[in-house]
Amino acid sequence: MTTVRTAPGLGARLSRSLALLTGVGLGLVCAAVYAVIALTLLQRQDETLDQKQAAIAQLLGERGPGHSVAELQHLLSDVLAGHAELSLRVTTADGQVIFDKAPAQSWPGKQRSFNVPVTAGPATSVLLALDQRGDNALMQRLAWTLACTAVGGALAVSAGAYWLVRRGLVPLHRLVDQTRLVTAHDLDRRLDGSGQPMELQPLIEQFNALLGRLDGAYRQMEAFNADVAHELNTPLATLISSSELALRRSRSAEEMRDVLGSNLEELHRMAGIIGDMLFLSHADNGSDARRDRVDSLAHLASEVIDFHEAAMHEAGLQATVVGEAAAQVDARLLRRAISNLLGNATRYGLAGTTVTVRINRVDASSVAVAVENSGPGIAPEHLPRLFDRFYRVDVARADADRNHGLGLAIVAAIARMHGGRATAESSGGTTRVGLLLRDA
């Protein structure tokens, strides 16, 4: 067995790719969310500072001499009310700090320092600061949450995909179990497609069709082996027993000659069967006909009729050739095919009738040659198997010792070697068996 380099599993591959894709997708979304929120927060901080700066400037600017420091302090605390993140220090021109809300630690990064002109004196300087730590903590939390969501989501999708693929492949595993049950001994078993997803139906159909073809071929091969064994066994049995019998006691030269002659007949018969089988095997292996131009197929057919003249005359049959064509064929093979067909026609033809060899050009590239005889006819169920090796319509024929059932198989092989096929039809007591030849 050859080792097949297998790709990584479908489930692992899919879940890995999906995890990666989800990770990238979620990552992008999270990054966008983070960026928008960070930007918004910064904008809000600036807005708050702008707002408060304006409020403070207004408050300090409107400050008349009548306003007491305590009153001002109170008003400034009102402005800062609800904004724990803001710190403020207001220093008058003479260096007196009239308001001081210092931050818990040092002054934070985002500061505004400005002077407010006062109508009755030098400008008051203001330092306003915004503590960003709260927002920074928020952003950090957000970042962590988003990152965890992205990774978690990707992992969840990956696991889900793995599970889905596994579940999706269950029918395939079931099919594998079913195919495992098909052995050479029960090729008639078929895959059960019920409950299988639509996508697998073509595969199941094709597999079943393949099984059907295999089954047919296997049965034919088994039958063929049995037939070969049987056909060779008969002459072998005769050979063994006649040789043993001859050697049991001393025989005259005449007797021995007779035994050897009889053995030789059986050996010729075996050689004939094996020769025919070799011929068929060469044909099966794609051996082609050696084509030459034959100007008159009718002439070729009448030569073969001459060969069969005596046998046909003895069977009370006449023979004629109807039709004519010229073709590129292997004359030797075609003679052999026609000879086999005439042999069959002689065996089955009704005495007193005529056997006709019909030749006609079917189209530009094919020629039909068929031998037609009147006789008992062949039942339709036998017709398709007529060209099978060792197939006999009539199992118990008297001439079975001469006719080993390869004649028509050879006819079919010769047709195939010419790129054509064998044809057979039988109706109304007329049987026509022949070849359709591709005329290259």
């Binding site: 009889s262 030789l264 001459d306 005596a310 046998a311 003895e314 052999r336 000879s339 005439l342 042999g343």
Partner: protein
């Protein structure tokens, strides 16, 4: 006539022995080589009238032996091949074989091919063929295509006449069904039909039945022979 010298190049011991025996009995001087190297050496050194060469040999195969032999010698070569594929025959003939025979073959056919090849090599030795052939009380006029036995004209068909003339030309020699089919009807394939038997049987009814002494004999398993046997 001096005895013809044959070289058999065949690795299968049983077949080689049987060829040696059979051909010696037929009056040939036979040498056997069991492999291609010995075969080529003998064929090149010895003066043989014909070489029987097996197509599949250990060492160098038959076709290679043939090709090497043809470099120096024009000795007629009859190839024996186990492969019945047409291509092999064609290859053999292209490589310079004069004829081929597919295994398994009948000894009678081998003999006929050998004799044909040897005849071909010496065309001047055979005189112009007789136009009238005779055997016992049978007479065949090849020109007028007339067959007469004991003064009575035999009514033969064209093919029957050809069959009888072949048997008569080679009287005393057993001719196989395959050879008859090839020589008389030009059908060079093994047929599973019994057409030759029937043809011979019909010839016999015309040739022998009306007369006391049969001339046409069946040699079981071998074929047919035309000869006047002592009663």
């Amino acid at each position: 006539m001096t005895r013809m010298k044959l070289l058999v190049v065949e690795d299968e011991a049983k077949l080689a022995d049987y060829l040696r025996k059979g051909l010696t009995e037929e009056g040939f001087v036979v040498d056997v080589a069991r492999n291609g190297v010995d075969g080529l050496h003998l064929a090149a050194e010895g003066d043989y009238d014909l070489v029987l060469l097996d197509g599949m040999l250990p060492g160098i195969d038959g076709l290679a032996v043939l090709a090497a032999l043809r470099q120096s010698q024009q000795t007629p070569v009859l190839m024996l091949t186990a492969r019945s594929q047409v291509e092999d025959r064609v290859k053999g003939l292209q490589a310079g074989a004069d004829d081929y025979l597919v295994k398994p073959f009948a000894f009678s056919e081998l003999l006929a091919r050998i004799q044909a090849l040897l005849r071909r090599g010496r065309p001047t030795q055979t005189p112009a063929e007789a136009t009238v052939l005779k055997l016992s009380d049978l007479e065949l006029d090849l020109i007028r295509r007339k067959a007469v036995r004991a003064g009575k004209r035999l009514e033969l068909t064209a093919k029957e006449f050809n069959l009888l003339s072949l048997l008569l030309r080679r009287a005393g020699e057993v001719l196989s069904r395959t050879e008859l089919a090839e020589q008389v009807w030009d059908m060079n394939f093994d047929s599973e039909t019994n057409v030759v038997e029937v043809a011979v049987r019909r010839l016999r009814t015309k040739l022998d039945q009306p007369f006391d002494r049969p001339l046409l004999h069946t040699v079981r398993g071998m074929g047919y022979v035309l000869e006047a046997r002592e009663p």
